[in-house]
């Protein structure tokens, strides 16, 4: 079963909102660094992504990445 971008984006939204991020700030072109999250929120999100999709993204590689780019990368890695 292939992983869709919509499903990944939904999961990220749900996780970030659960962490206390305002939902309207989570747009596809929002930079990850600019969201109201800290290192623990990011670690939680990465742990969830690993559990759901088996994809590991090293923390330094989140720098400068937009939500959309993150989603694309997860979809790509999950497919490979």
């Amino acid at each position: 079963m292939s992983v869709t971008a919509e499903a990944v984006l939904d999961l990220i939204r749900v996780e970030l909102v659960e962490s206390g991020v305002e939902e309207e700030t989570i747009s596809p072109d929002a930079k990850f660094d600019d969201l109201d999250i800290d290192s623990l929120d990011a670690a939680e999100l990465m742990a969830t992504i690993k559990r759901e999709y088996g994809v590991t993204i090293p923390r330094p590689e989140l720098a400068g990445v937009t939500v959309d780019q993150l989603v694309a990368r997860i979809v790509e890695q999950a497919a490979s």
Partner: protein, 392 residues
């Protein structure tokens, strides 16, 4: 004699409700916060008090501490800003078990598992929310932890190590695992009743909650026009060095803690008007505790001093107990009315005699002195921690 420290704010979350005033009012009205076999903080709605991130980032015990601290700091008049440099205000929150993994993030090996479990996480939460930048940590002398935190706060303010302290205790461990363990150890009441000092007592009932107090120098409190709710006059502590869970039956070290607390307060048994006992309702605690009071206070004074255990109405709050009971004792000496040992009908004749309060009672006028109470906390492992608390 060493100087007293002022209490300018108190806050509590207990099975009797959210708030220190509801706690003391309901205790004196003879009401119980116990449901079937346990004392749960059913009135506590985390969504009402905490933002989403604070709820997610804090185990239940730390959430209780946050809410109790908010109340205490508001009452102290600290809400609009800290009255002293932040670096000079410390925070010590005691706990027995810390953030016992319940469900969700904590129990599934997430990045939050460890931060939620850390026993110091309540102190982190309180110091972070209010920007308290003096020393902060958890103290963990089991069921004496809350009293130990206040004792540390007293010493820190007296010595000048801190200008002011936010201290207390928090616990939330109403889990099957913990319940089963206490039951297997024979400490939990199999009938689900908490009857301290009664012939029919058969163990404690688990509770949960938090109590937080703001401590500052008396002269500072007066200078900034703060209301003083009472005084922490003295603290004494000792260890049984006897057993992992059972108290030493002779009560000798518990008595030493009482004597040390009285000496630290510069008073003596005649200067006391009320005892808030540890009074868990286990066969062993109540026997050793009353024996220790006889040793420390003398048979005549121990028998004549009004005494009650409020655990009968709150359940055993473990690491929060000492702090919540200090708040109860402060209210008793300030108002001159002490709460009863709820449900006590037949004091066990095998125990040392005491003047058990079966209903709320007006304490004897102190005759020009300060109305003064003793709050006893005796933890699993033999940690004895005793506070002497006075009216303003």
């Amino acid at each position: 004699m060493t100087s007293a420290v002022a209490v300018t704010g108190v806050g509590a979350v207990t099975p009797l409700g959210v708030g220190a005033a509801v706690l003391t009012a309901r205790l004196k009205a003879g009401e119980s916060g116990l449901g079937p076999g346990e004392g749960r903080c059913t009135e506590f709605d985390e969504g009402e008090h905490l933002g989403r991130r604070e709820r997610r980032r804090n185990a239940r015990f730390a959430q209780f501490a946050l809410v109790a601290a908010e109340e205490a700091l508001r009452q102290a008049g600290w809400s609009a800003g800290l009255p002293y440099p932040a670096e000079e205000i410390g925070c010590v929150i005691g706990t027995g078990l810390g953030g016992v993994p319940e469900a969700g993030a904590a129990a599934s090996g997430s990045p939050l598992t460890v931060p939620l479990m850390m026993p110091n996480s309540a102190a982190v939460a309180v110091s972070t929310r209010h920007g308290l930048r003096g020393e902060s940590f958890a103290v963990s002398g089991a069921c004496a932890a809350g009293a130990q935190a206040i004792g540390h706060g007293l010493r820190a303010v007296r010595s000048g190590a801190a200008r002011a302290m936010v201290v207390g205790g928090a616990e939330a461990a109403l889990l099957p695992l913990v319940r089963d363990s206490f039951a297997a150890a024979g400490a939990l009441s199999p009938t689900g009743r908490c009857l301290p000092f009664d012939e029919e007592r058969d163990g404690f009932v688990m509770g949960e909650g938090a109590g937080v107090l703001v401590l500052e120098r008396v002269e500072d409190a007066l200078a900034r026009g703060a209301g003083i709710l009472g005084l922490v006059l003295g603290y004494g502590a000792s260890s049984d060095a006897h057993h992992l869970t059972a108290p030493a039956p002779d009560g000798a070290m518990a008595a030493l803690a009482v004597r040390r607390a009285l000496a630290d307060a510069g008073t003596d048994p005649a200067g006391l008007h009320y005892v808030n006992a540890h009074g868990t309702g286990t066969r062993l605690n109540d026997e050793a505790e009353l024996r220790s009071l006889r040793l420390a206070l003398g048979a005549e004074r121990a028998a004549a001093l009004p005494l009650s255990s409020t655990k009968a109405a709150t359940g055993h709050l473990f690491g929060a107990g000492g702090a919540v009971e200090a708040i109860v004792t402060l209210d008793a000496v300030r108002t001159g009315w002490a709460p009863p040992t709820l449900g006590l009908s037949r004091p066990d004749p095998a125990l040392e005699p005491a003047d058990h309060l079966r209903t709320a009672r007006e304490l004897a006028p102190p005759g020009g002195a300060r109305t003064t109470g003793l709050s006893n906390s005796l933890g699993f492992g033999g940690h004895n921690a005793v506070l002497v608390l006075g009216a303003p």
